[in-house]
């Protein structure tokens, strides 16, 4: 790949991207290289199959859900901006950023990260994690040895513990509350290496 600058010029709206996501131009170039590598047909968009080609994702229990998270509802493709935006969720939070209520919530704040995690569960986007949705996730993350009754039991207990308004589903607020002791920034950040 050529120099950073030449690649940067290929990407439309780079400044906007830098502003919005907080990635440095160098990072964006690297992500762009990655995007191009995934986009085998050079269409400028990624489809689920392109993600599917990443072999290690198939041995990730929630790999397919993560792939799904890249695609907004109804969209069949991901362009580079969306790609970067999603990945920006996983940037470590900027500790020095002043809290400015007028600015939109940065993509890698605690709330945004939690929202991303929430959406992994809430596939039908109704704002609640229903029992069935929880069961689905559990099923994918637990070994096949676990029977259906056991799975349902776990799901029931989990909802019991987290559900405060007893509607048998976990809303985003309840989700957030149940994880208040967890260091989300630590758990949901990766160091984007070169």
């Amino acid at each position: 790949m050529g120099s950073t600058n030449s690649t940067l010029s290929k990407i439309p709206n780079v400044e906007e991207l830098v502003q919005e996501t907080g990635f440095t131009p160098a990072h964006i170039v690297r992500l762009y290289d990655r995007f191009e590598a995934l986009d085998k047909e050079k269409t400028g968009h990624l489809r689920p199959q392109d993600f599917g080609a990443i072999n290690r994702l198939a041995i990730n229990p929630i790999g397919d859900r993560i792939i799904g998270a890249f695609f907004s509802p109804g969209q069949e493709t991901v362009d580079f901006h969306s790609f970067v935006r999603i990945l920006a969720h996983f940037r470590p939070a900027d500790k020095k950023r002043p809290k400015d209520p007028s600015m939109p919530e940065p993509v890698n704040s605690r709330t945004s990260k939690l929202k991303f995690a929430f959406q992994l569960y809430d596939q039908d986007k109704d704002g609640k994690i229903s029992r069935a949705e929880l069961l689905q996730v559990l099923r994918s993350m637990l070994e096949m040895q676990v029977t259906e009754e056991q799975l349902e039991s776990i799901a029931d207990r989990t909802i019991q513990e987290a559900d405060l308004d007893t509607d048998d589903a976990i809303s985003f607020e309840e989700f957030r509350k149940s994880l208040e002791k967890v260091n989300i920034d630590h758990k949901m950040s990766i160091r984007f290496l070169r």
Binding site: M1, A26, R30, L31, D33, R34, A37, L38, K40, E41, Q49, F51, G52, A53, I54, N55, R56, L57, A58, I59, N60, P61, I62, G63, D64, I66, F70, L87, A117, V137, L138, M141, L142, E143, M144, Q145, V146, T147, E149, S153, I154, R157, T158, E161, A162, I170, F175, S178, L179, K181, V182, N183, H186, K187, M188, I190, R191, F192, L193, R194
Partner: protein, 763 residues
């Protein structure tokens, strides 16, 4: 005398054994190396008591020629290459500049203090101080490995310290020889010419040594390419040639450590691919045995050598100042260099990392070996230096070794109070783990790079062609690997289960839709891959084809199903279940180098399960998305799904000259996993997907498909199309790439891939 010798002869082999079995809880507090030194002291005391003199010391010859090479070869052979080369720049900076800095500052500092009179009256000069500084400056690989074994740091930090300790030998050797020559010359003769010669000699020694190593790596790879018929002695060659690389470099006065390191680093990929699986296993185990044994002996002798009153000269100033300087200047050096490096790194090295790196700059036996080589006539204060070196080694290995782990723990961010996690937290924690791994994979953590791409291209085209056996090259194709691995695992679990139940007959479960391989697959399979099948011997030297035939038909790939009934009566407890059965996230410490543990993947079942599930769900989603496609295209889409082997007997008409568009690169896979026995089992299940869209994107496919042929074959496979749900859990991996004979021009294409295998049930 005899008494001491017999004592030692009896003790040493036992020691070797015992060290390996040392109580783990003890070694987690005190690193093994420290304990070994202690034992050395005790032994030394015994011997001295018996002989009234120290009959056994660590002589430089023994150390440098018989003990050190194995350790370094082990380090090189198991080096995580990708990590190493990604961080090569930083490693070199630390190794070269850092070591020079250490040497200079310690030497000059001591000289300054001597001038100031802090050391009293000793017969020494500036050059000797510089020499001493250069030999005490180098971080020692043996000590680093020994201590970091217990302390789990992140992989980047580990590779920095480890890499530095290996590569700094180039500098140490040069500095040592240069200053040794200077001391012989005498201070007056040194002028700019000599200094320039010294600098040039650094480049010659370092690059020359590496070159020798690379040449030997090529030799080894070529050799293993030709050893098809003498597989039993393959492992021997590795060790002999590895050692030869060391000796050759030493003979040419080049850096022997660099030579053997690069020999190990460069050849690992090719020999793992070329050699028979059993040879690979042998090499790995023997390598560890030798390395462990050497390390044990080294540390014990470091202890024994101390118990010799003749060598001890105490000079408070010298010793204490040395300790102080190496400690302080190490910190300063690391922080300074890191500050500079961080300006150029995408991910800066954090403060904690730097502290650990500084604190982990352990000195060890190499320094002792070098100091023992000094000529007493030139260096009047040799004994003082030896004593100081020993004390430095003890200080770093024992004190810093013991306190390393508590320091690391203490420095890390304090965790929240340990209350019992709720179920939601537990589940979510695990979800986060998986999520992070997935995002890392998606964002391609070891990123692109023009040079890296070029190197990969070059390597794929030329090196692999030159250095690997043709069959090894083919079996780099992951489809075969995956099939092979699954079958092996299957076989193993089948036999285990059979042993448990007392008979092997249990699995013949008719209700399971077992793969009827015998009829449909086997004949075609062996026809299709004759050369691969013939050349690859499975375990026990039985041709793989027969293993496939024997095992595959009768085993259901999902052993868990059979156990299900047995588990219903177990007590239920949600937390307990979660504890037991949540899939483990793929740890980020994959690349940890370990002296005593060979990496075996314990998550094989998990991986298999997840893989099956994912493939199943993808198949289903594909089916549901595509079944509505216009009938005109039905043939093609079905054709993709249908099992390829079926078509082969009639498929001679297919156009074999078409080039498969497999030239795509999946960089993650071009990493060194060339079908190496151990590594492939490490759980990367590469797959390929067809371009599944309405109509086929894959032109090669299209051209090959003769619709008429297909129609006929379609009739023969009644249940296949439309029943893509997988009631059976059996799995077949079919892939058209394998099923056409590889054509010469497609060999390159075969080596990289990114398409999925469709899992097709057989009825």
């Amino acid at each position: 005398g005899n008494g001491a010798q017999s004592v030692l002869r009896r003790w040493l082999p036992l020691l070797d054994q015992e060290m390996v079995e040392l109580n783990h809880s003890l070694t987690s507090v005190i690193p093994e190396s420290a304990l070994l030194i202690l034992i050395g002291w005790i032994l030394g005391g015994i011997i001295y008591g018996a002989d009234k003199m120290q009959t056994f010391t660590l002589t430089p010859t023994v150390f440098f020629f018989y003990l050190l090479p194995q350790v370094i070869l082990d380090a090189g052979y198991f080096m995580p290459n990708k990590l190493f080369f990604s961080n090569m720049g930083a490693i070199l900076v630390y190794a070269v500049i850092g070591t020079c800095w250490n040497a200079a500052t310690v030497g000059l500092g001591l000289w300054g203090c001597w001038l100031g009179g802090a050391m009293g009256d000793i017969d020494i000069g500036l050059l000797q101080f510089l020499l001493f500084g250069s030999l005490i400056a180098a971080v020692d690989p043996v000590a680093v490995i020994a201590v970091f074994e217990e302390v789990h740091v992140n992989e980047v930090l580990f590779i920095m310290v480890f890499g530095e300790s290996l590569l700094n030998d180039g500098v140490t050797v040069v500095l040592f020889n240069v200053f040794d020559a200077f001391v012989s010359l005498g201070g007056a003769e040194i002028d700019a010419v000599e200094i320039i010669k010294g600098i040039i000699s650094f480049f010659v020694v370092a690059f020359g040594g590496s070159l020798v190593g690379i040449i030997f790596a090529l030799l080894i790879s070529l050799l293993t390419r030709c050893t098809k018929n003498i597989q039993i002695i393959e492992p021997g060659f590795i060790f002999i040639l590895g050692y030869l690389s060391y000796l050759t470099a030493e003979m040419l006065s080049l850096s022997a450590i660099l030579s053997i390191v690069f020999c190990g680093i460069c050849c690992q990929k090719y020999i793992n691919a070329n050699m028979d699986e059993r040879s690979v296993t042998t090499v790995r185990h023997v390598m560890k045995v030798f390395a462990n044994g050497s390390e044990t002996i080294i540390f014990v002798f470091l202890g024994i050598s101390a118990i010799d009153p003749d060598i001890w000269v105490w000079n408070t100033g010298f010793i204490l100042l040395t300790l102080l300087f190496i400690f302080v200047f190490r910190f300063i050096g690391v922080f300074l260099l890191t500050w500079i490096l961080n300006k150029y790194r995408l991910v800066p090295l954090e403060f904690i990392d730097q502290v650990v790196m500084s604190y982990g700059g352990l000195r060890g036996a190499v320094a002792y070996g070098l100091v023992a080589m000094l000529d007493e006539k030139k260096f009047k204060e040799k004994n003082l230096m030896v004593s100081t070196t020993l004390i430095v080694v003890y200080f770093t290995v024992m004190l810093q070794g013991i306190t390393m782990k508590p320091l690391v723990t203490w420095l890390k961010v304090k965790r929240a109070a340990v209350t019992e996690l709720t179920l939601a937290e537990k589940i979510q924690n695990r979800t986060f783990d998986h999520m992070l791994v997935a995002i890392e994979d998606i964002s391609g953590q070891i990123g692109h790079n023009y040079m890296r791409d070029r190197w990969h291209n070059f390597e794929e085209r030329w090196l692999c062609w030159f250095l690997m056996k043709p069959s090894a090259r083919k079996s780099r194709d992951y489809i075969f690997n995956i099939f092979h691995q699954l079958n092996l695992k299957d076989a193993i679990s089948y036999v285990k289960e059979g042993e448990r139940r007392g008979s092997l007959a249990f699995v013949r479960n008719e209700t399971k839709a077992d793969v009827d391989f015998n009829k449909k697959f086997r004949a075609n399979f062996s026809e299709i891959m004759p050369d691969i099948m013939a050349e690859n011997m499975g375990p026990d030297h039985v041709p793989l084809s027969s293993i496939l035939q024997d095992i595959v038909p009768s085993v259901c790939l999902d052993m868990h199903e059979l156990d299900l009934k047995m588990r219903e009566s177990e007590d239920f407890n949600a937390h307990h279940l979660l504890q037991q059965h949540l899939y483990r996230g793929r740890k980020q410490h994959r690349h940890r180098y370990s002296r005593s543990h060979l990496e075996t993947n314990k998550d094989e079942n998990e991986v298999q399960e997840i893989f099956q599930r994912t493939m199943r769900s993808r198949l289903e989603s594909f089916k549901s998305a595509k079944m509505g496609v216009a009938p005109a295209k039905k043939i093609q889409t079905k054709h993709q799904k249908k099992d390829k082997p079926q078509k082969m007997p009639n498929g001679n008409s297919t156009d074999k000259s078409k080039n498969h568009p497999y030239g795509d690169k999946d960089l993650e896979f071009s990493e060194g996993d060339c079908g190496s026995g151990g590594e492939a089992a490490g759980g990367l299940f590469p797959m390929r997907a067809y371009r599944v869209e309405a109509g086929i994107v894959n032109p090669a496919f299209m051209a090959e498909m003769d619709p008429m042929d297909n129609m006929q074959q379609m009739q023969q496979i009644p249940h296949n199309v439309g029943h893509l749900t997988l009631p059976s859990k059996s799995m077949v991996i079919s892939d058209p790439v394998y099923l056409t004979k590889p054509i010469p021009q497609t060999i390159q294409a075969l080596t990289v891939q990114s398409h999925f295998i469709w899992i097709v049930p057989y009825r």
